[in-house]
């Protein structure tokens, strides 16, 4: 079978989703590429080529002399100032125009990370640099390529959201695309592959027993649930982080003791502030789990607190395990 050509572009980004992709461990990066039958045509952090050689390759891709099976874009796309794209000029042309041209000749286009998907951090607040995602700006369809864009294989931009994207999400998406195994019905309402984004980051969080009994931490480093006081958005975040785990399957945000900030969402970052504390009306957090009715939440959480075992009540506010039978 012919190797599939992957062209990876970085659009004024932080490189975080590349670094994360290199962290892939099941399988490792090199075995992964071989298994997927992927040939990297160009990657700015990896390839030997520089200068004119890079432009030659990009020109050949644009003209169809090198077939691009998959175009991966990392980073938000600069439209500013005044729609000129001059905040990122690449060899005398706005980089946004390079991306547009190359997207047109690619079988599939993948946005790797929340910036390329939805704008992400650079689009925060008033979006002063006027950046956008490839086919979305936050929750609104359009972006650089337009709502109606479809790649040569009749797919919209596939959004591998996450800040950064989990290495598996990137790798598996590339693997699906290399074997033409991703269908449009496999994408959710924000064109993210459902395989990764139909769970909540809350699922498999080791603090779940604390959550059930509303045994909450009041300061970081404590073992209790981070939802009630410390800003955790894992019950709103569509990802499988706590099932899949990060860094050689050793960690996640909540396992690291800090709150989930829902970085896979098109509303990231502004939709999830404050990050480190929980906004409440009375005692009720305003950031309730995605589809839990408020009245039920109030009723159940009141009862849970009453039913909370001593073991959880004590440990929720302790940084180390306390054996209550010995206290």
């Amino acid at each position: 079978m012919r190797m599939k050509n992957l062209l990876w572009l970085q659009s004024g980004c932080c490189g975080g989703s590349t670094i994360s992709f290199l962290n892939v461990d099941q399988p490792d990066f090199f075995t992964g590429l071989r298994l997927a039958g992927i040939n990297i045509v160009l990657h700015p952090s990896i390839s030997l080529e520089s200068g004119r050689e890079v432009i030659d390759v990009l020109e050949k891709c644009r003209k169809g002399e090198i077939k691009i099976d998959i175009l991966a874009v990392e980073g938000a796309i600069h439209l500013g100032p005044n729609k000129t794209g001059k905040y990122f000029i690449f060899n005398d042309r706005p980089f946004k125009d390079w991306i547009t041209d190359l997207a047109r000749v690619s079988d599939y286009v993948v946005a790797v990370g929340t910036c390329a998907s939805f704008g992400g951090i650079p689009a925060a607040g008033s979006n002063p640099m006027d950046v956008t995602g490839l086919q979305f700006l936050r929750e609104t369809k359009g972006g650089l390529l337009g709502e109606g864009f479809a790649s040569a294989a009749s797919m919209p931009v596939v959004n591998v959201a996450g800040c950064p994207a989990h290495p598996d999400w990137t790798y598996e998406t590339l693997m699906f695309l290399a074997s033409a195994a991703l269908r449009i019905e496999d994408l959710d309402r924000f064109n993210r592959p459902k395989f990764f984004y139909s769970k909540l980051a809350h699922h498999a969080c080791p603090r779940n027993e604390y959550y059930e009994f509303k045994a909450s931490a009041v300061a970081y480093s404590q073992q209790g649930c981070l939802f009630e006081n410390l800003g955790c958005k894992a019950t709103q975040c569509e990802s499988d982080c706590n099932e899949r785990l990060w860094l050689g399957r050793t960690g996640s945000c909540t396992r690291g003791g800090f709150p989930c900030i829902s970085c896979t969402s098109p509303k990231f970052p502004d939709g999830f502030t404050p990050y480190f504390s929980t906004e409440k009306i009375g005692d009720i957090p305003t950031t309730l789990p995605l589809d839990v009715p408020k009245a039920w939440y109030v009723g159940i959480s009141g009862l849970s607190k009453l039913a909370c075992p001593e073991r959880l009540r004590v440990n929720a506010v302790s940084f180390k395990e306390i054996d209550v039978d010995q206290v």
Partner: protein, 498 residues
Amino acid sequence: MVHKKIIRINPLNRVEGDLEISIEIRDGKVIDARASGVAFRGFERLLLRRDPMDALVFTCRVCGICSICHSTASSLALRSAFDARMPANAYYIRNIALASEVIMSHLMHFYALFMVDFTNKKYSSSKNYPGLVSRFAALEGSSYIAAMKARKDFLAFLGLFVGKWPNTLALQPGGVTKPVNASEIVRARAVLAGLSGFLEKELLDDNIESFLENDSVADLNTWLGAADHQQSDLGLFMEMAQESGLERLGKGPGRFLCCASYESPDGSTMYKSGYFDGIVNPFQQEKITEDVSHAWFVGDDHKHPFCGTTEPNAEKEGAYTWVKSPRYEGAVVEVGPYARLMINHDPLANDVARVSGVNAYTRSLMRIYEMLLLVRRIEEWIVRIDPEEPVYLPHRDAKDAQGKGFVEAARGMLGHWITIEKGKIRSYQIITPTSWNMSPRDAAGSPGAVEQALIGTTVEDEKNPVEVGHVVRSFDPCLFCSVHTLRATCLNHGRSTG
């Protein structure tokens, strides 16, 4: 006949971020050089009027390679603004996290960014060429692959301390969010032993302990000649450096800067700060200014980071980059592992400085050497963690305050400055290591450190200017970090430009 030509390399790949290098060559020698960061990212502008704690979320996302460096600097800036305190354990865990990231960055730089240049066709007549290609070819070389695998295996170590990376939020003004228990400490030490194993087998063909006994250039030469050390990855690098004349390339401005870094609970630091201009002087952050005369920003004066700069102006005449020009006492300086080891009187670094001075070879050598030093340091910090003691102390917020945080990031000194007014960020300023190294010329016309290092370089083949790659990559530039600015105000002078 004088042969003169301008060569533009855009993009210069295998650096972190979007870099254009433009050189003017006369009779095979670089007579002028310009380094341009070509993408504007405007991070500091994004932070204005936000909650001060948002800086932890935003600034680690300045850079995917050195996100913990930014986390460290921003949490230190907030710590000083909030006057927060940390328990002893937090110092060790933060040092471990920072050192781990620096180690991974140095490892990646050597194997995936720097050594790949020696597979260039320029070296095809070298007796070492077949070996270089089989080991260091991008994505294919045996050492390249082994190093990437060692890096991947080491990630589990980081996971045990910070949960997720890049972009952890574990580092806070009051310490760290994740305690480590006795079982995790055992696991962490096992993972670290795996990394040491790789370094000893592939990089050194020697154990780290005995390599670190090399205190002088003479020791290093003896080491290289002994056993099979020439066959190790480091040995091959040292040999190729000699063969290719790497020592003759990339002399910098000769002035260096280092900030205090890797703090202990008693307030002492592994790296002490200093400014070297022939001798080591005390470092005073007040002496830092930023110049935007050749960057695409409005204005042309020097300002301290607590004061302001102005708006982006993509049309500005004479400008050629989105990187600003930080200066110390008005002078161009270099930062990085060479600078910090030399300023801190490391015996080997001092001898290297005495014998060879700074150049493309010694800069890279000191990077690798620091990686080995940090591996040993981590082992010392781990055993000091007491799982029975806390890792975090809550802090009060501040309505009106200023704070600053400095850290020796992988590529050199990183500084964050925050001004909080009425509980919101009034200004946030970042000076990254690459801003120091890759800055454009300033109002006085002095070229930045890399630009200076490029001038005088002999380029054998204009169509294949591999020497330029050696010089630039010896600084390990990270453009992700450095292309930013803000709409800021100068509070000290009570005047607003934004």
